[in-house]
């Protein structure tokens, strides 16, 4: 039998039993759609986190107080006690390093802000003029922190977009006096709204000079020092230089941890990539189940069409022709199912992106290819047994089952 005839024969056979065909196509499409949607979720999470982390700056090297035993990123860093504090002078010293283009010390704390009787809790970030460009923030109005002596805390503040909206409404904010804690500060700038970023909502931030923040919180330590390397290639050098400079300043003791944005990014990338692979594996189980269902459907088809198989044999069809006809039917069921599932999955991912615009739920290419080929593979694999059974039927016995 010619290939086109085999395919047409298989197609007619499949459409001849619409309910059974629809059910097996449905099962296969659910399997493929599950792979597509789940990997879109997993990969979306990876892209989201990586994207968020990339947006905190470019070529960043972050110095945090305290030494972690192993290098790299360790969540325990956030709670370890600090043997020797990082100071503004430490930060200033890092500006000497040749691989470093910009440095911003960072001291943080929470406080209350009030204006015109309105009061709210906010996060205060004490830093310097270069904090805004390093963190890729942009100003909507006004100007940044004054450049100059880092140890001089002018009574000025830059406020986030939400703080501005809530305190000032439609009034202009720049130039107004606000109260933060027990100090009166003048608003000199307003940040552009950027939304949520890694748990720290910059729209609810108030940025003040670092010395002022230290005075407000009555401490002379820094939370972090943000260092921007001159280029991507100089990140390792900047990291080394920063470590060395701080070590010298701390009397030869290496009591800070210096991490690079790249290292954190790579860790998250790997972690969430593995997660995606894991969910893809779980979804693949449903594909195997769908494959077994296709086999079941084909076995029923062989039983139901025994008389027809007998007829084909009587009419001179060799075993191979019958095998191919049934295999083609199984392949058709699974490929149509795979295609429908792919479209459903893409539709689901699209719906996710519509519902959560910040979440880039795109299925990765490898998952789509693997999902489709697993669907076709299992369909064919599980189609072999029924097809062989059909081809082996005894024509006399088969003809009697009519």
């Amino acid at each position: 039998m010619r290939l086109t005839d085999t395919l047409r024969f298989a197609r007619d056979a499949a459409t001849g039993y619409p309910l059974r065909t629809a059910l097996s196509v449905l099962a296969m499409s659910i399997g493929v759609a599950a792979v597509v949607i789940l990997t879109a979720l997993g990969d979306g999470a990876r892209r989201y986190v990586v994207g968020q982390f990339s947006s905190i700056g470019t070529n960043l090297v972050i110095v945090l107080p305290g030494r972690s035993g192993t290098g790299g990123f360790n969540p325990a860093n956030a709670i370890t006690s600090t043997p020797r504090d990082l100071t503004i002078d430490d930060a200033a010293a890092l500006r000497r390093a040749s691989a470093v283009s910009r440095v911003a010390p960072l001291a943080v704390g929470t406080s209350e802000i009030s204006y015109g009787g309105r009061l709210r809790e906010i996060m205060v970030a004490g830093s310097t003029a270069e904090f805004i460009p390093i963190r890729n923030f942009e100003l909507a109005q006004g100007r940044g922190l004054p450049d100059g002596d880092w140890n001089r805390g002018d009574s000025v503040a830059i406020i986030g977009a939400t703080v501005r909206d809530e305190l000032f409404g439609s009034e202009p904010a720049v130039g107004k006096l606000i109260r933060v804690g027990d100090r009166r500060l003048r608003v000199i700038g307003v940040l552009k709204s950027v939304g949520q970023g890694l748990g720290m909502n910059t729209d609810e931030l108030v940025i003040v000079p670092v010395a002022l923040a230290q005075a407000m919180f009555n401490s002379n330590t820094l939370f972090r020092i943000l260092v921007e390397a001159k280029s991507r290639a100089t990140i390792p050098l900047a990291r080394e230089q920063a470590t060395e400079i701080i070590r010298q300043r701390h009397y030869g003791e290496e009591d800070v941890t210096v991490i690079t944005q790249d290292a954190i990014l790579a860790t998250f990338d790997k972690l969430l990539g593995t997660l995606t692979l894991g969910v893809a594996g779980i979804a693949a189980i449903s594909l195997a189940v769908a494959g077994i269902l296709v086999m079941n459907v084909m076995l029923v088809a062989v039983t139901q069409r025994t008389g027809e198989i007998g007829l084909l044999k009587a009419l001179g069809a060799p075993a191979r022709t019958i095998r191919l006809a049934f295999l083609a039917e199984a392949a058709m069921l699974s490929s149509v199912g795979a295609l429908v599932g792919y479209l459903l999955g893409q539709l689901g991912a699209f719906a996710l992106r519509q519902a959560f615009p910040v979440f880039p739920a795109y299925p990765p290419d490898w998952a789509v290819i693997a999902g489709l080929s697993t669907a076709l593979g299992t369909g064919l694999l599980f189609g072999v047994m029924p097809a062989r059974r059909a081809a082996r039927l005894d024509p006399v016995q088969a003809l009697m089952k009519h």
């Binding site: 010619r2 024969f9 007619d12 027809e308 001179g316 060799p318 009519h402």
Partner: protein
Amino acid sequence: MALIELTGIERVFQLGDATVHALAGLDLSIDAGEYVAVMGPSGSGKSTLLNLLGLLDRPNAGSYRLEDRDVTTLSADQLARVRSERIGFVFQSFHLVPRLTAAENIALPMTLAGIPLKERNARVARALVDFGLDKRADHRPDQLSGGQRQRVAIARATIMQPALILADEPTGNLDRHTGEEVVNLLEALNASGVTLVVVTHDPTMGARARRQLVMEDGRLQSDSAHP
């Protein structure tokens, strides 16, 4: 020249513990162009003989020469090829594929044999006219009458221009009038040179054949050619 030569054919079935000799020591020769009716009571081995002649079944012993070729030693696929090219079947229950149209059912043996579409269409168009089915070409079997279905089945049996047509109770599911039509059709084919072997219960139909074989217990009880 003998088209079919059976010598010492044995066919044995195991039914549980019992051994049934469906065919026992059967010798038979049928010449090309003959019109043979096979008769006998149920279980006498008529259908087994027909399956054997149609190469759907193999004998346990004996030899079967079809057109001077020993077919008992052929492989399953070689047998399929002989069936495709030399033998046409007509069944009591028509055995049409329900989802295919009349034209597609008639074309099925050619489709299976891999004959190009163009030639298929030409031959099916001719057959539809010859068998008075040209108005029914796109009808599916459930839209056809019994007589029309059997005409489609006969058209299918002849479309590969076989040397031998085997008909198993071809009028068994038809009323007297349409049965008569179908028999006339088969006899016209025989008149054109095709060898026709009909298995039947119907004595009047059997009497119309030029040669009658009566079977009993797997043996040839009488053969009108060798009284």
